[in-house]
Subunit: 384 residues, 2 copies
Amino acid sequence: MQNFVYYNPVRIVFGKGTISSISELIPKDKKVMMVYGGGSIKKNGVYEQVKQALKGYKIVEFSGIEPNPAYETCMDAVKIVKEEKIDFLLSVGGGSVLDGTKFIAAAAKFEGGDPWKILSECAEIESALPLASIITLPATGSEMNALAVISKKATAEKFALCSWKVAPVFSIIDPETTYSLPRKQVVNGLVDTFVHVLEQYVTFNVNSPLQDRQAEAILNTIVEISDDVLNKANDYESRANFFWCATQGLNSLIACGVPQDWTTHKIGHELTALYGIDHGESLAIVLPRVWEYNLELKKEKILQYGKRVFDISGKDSGKTAMKIIDTTEKFFLKLGIKTKLSDYGIDSRDAAEKISARFESRATKLGEKGQLLPKDVKKILLNC
Amino acid sequence: MQNFVYYNPVRIVFGKGTISSISELIPKDKKVMMVYGGGSIKKNGVYEQVKQALKGYKIVEFSGIEPNPAYETCMDAVKIVKEEKIDFLLSVGGGSVLDGTKFIAAAAKFEGGDPWKILSECAEIESALPLASIITLPATGSEMNALAVISKKATAEKFALCSWKVAPVFSIIDPETTYSLPRKQVVNGLVDTFVHVLEQYVTFNVNSPLQDRQAEAILNTIVEISDDVLNKANDYESRANFFWCATQGLNSLIACGVPQDWTTHKIGHELTALYGIDHGESLAIVLPRVWEYNLELKKEKILQYGKRVFDISGKDSGKTAMKIIDTTEKFFLKLGIKTKLSDYGIDSRDAAEKISARFESRATKLGEKGQLLPKDVKKILLNC
């Protein structure tokens, strides 16, 4: 096991009817900006529940945070935060709204020039407005982590930031808020959760049996419940279990003391930024090809994962590993997501050229050992 | 799954050579009381490492916190804390030293009369001194939780307190500090960890597949590594994995949204308070008999545990469950711990009378549904 620091102070309030507890969690003297997206929370009743719970607070609303939240939109919010002297941000919606809120919280206090530097140059976040979330989409884990991913429309770029200064003070997870989600978002969330876990788990062995099993706990649960999650309308139990998997999948716990490989996410972000495909779709396309390309390095963990999650084993380790990759891809397909660039009308040569050129210009190295250069990314994308 | 709140702000610094990081974690202007036990830290080099790391701080030392830390000893420390105007406590040692430190932190700020009320009457802890730990024994999980168990010599009583106000600001876990532990303490730690997990897991089914698997992750890892932990001298990897299991076993995570049954611990505390046996020993004696007594209520989870941890299954659910209980007891025996009161020269009738009378006087109800009355505890103890 490698040395590590683990720290996660986010308070999780989980379960039916928990939205009403906001008033116990936000000090009464705060002026709150309620940040949300395109208005789905007005259709599913969440907006009304939040407004009811916030009675007595001074509130300013900011709507219109889009999927893959845009720097430009967030900066509009920052302007209002400053004008209105907002001192608490409440994100109401999915991971995109929350990621946007995290960036707003940091940008409103940033004194180093253009806040885009927080993303493009990893400029340090020295302080941020306090924020919390009512999270309504099981997927990103943003409700219990220090991460946010923001896109810039002007340049079609997408970058992540990481700072505990922008982690939610608390997150409320009421699984009932997911009942009205479109099927496509549920599928994307299942794939996103599954891939988050795989990118912290399928690397090389450092003798971390507990972390491995904690990762497999999430993977096995997702495999077990995915049919119910997709096909049983308004089934509280499967939605609750799914949400807890999503939260646990990216809250730093399973990453303790182990190598990580975020290649699939890094390439996926570029595909979303350039071609507009969903985040979950980009992951399902890239992950199997990243594994094939790094087969020798990842083989031991792929074999363990295949045995413990899909009960696949065999004498020929290479063939067995390839069968496990194929089974993973088939699992994505079974959930209802496509796994080839061509399925989305994207030319793999175009993607390979553009994305490897971007990584070249940024001197990006990927992989659990920094072993993947832009030329390797090019080859991986040609196989996608 | 049941509704829950999860909150755990303890920073964990884990790995080789991490003790030197204290100076980055405690503000320089703090006057620190270094709290420790009987002096084992002077033999294994930990004392020197801590003193070195604390150079430049004002330090007062308080030694002599005993196993099953005594209220009386802690109150001696409280007196010095007040006289010396200490504003930070650093526990250096195992769970007993840390539990004592937690009580000292609360008692030093307690304004409701005799601080024993915090334990005997669950008086609320409104504030406490900040504290941190260098933890050297994998067992109690105290390094990442809000719990402390304190004994009163005068009355042979042992009670727990629970408050996040006394959770460590940070805990440093360097697995190398465990190399010098006596074998008996390692065995006790393995059993304590195993039973912590079982008491949060083997209850009744509330459809919590992720929490179940997170619990099984710890149990399976303990079963897998226990031989190396016990028999390979100075094996960093197995000690590191054991320590992370112990920490994860009682940090609130696997308890999220599930029923808990602390009957074994509650009865065990009385056995320790009355007869002086080790905490781990008391657990190994009581747990199998608690399970037999509550077989119908726990059967479904016992069968799941037996299948997933010891690969035991069978057609007759009752016989299979009994076999699983027997296997659990044999696992304790294999670790090197005895499982009968008579092994320690304790008369089961005496224990049954005394402990059920105590529970009667306190109107104690135990079990995951509050189903166990003092008369049930009496029967359980007669079987021990």
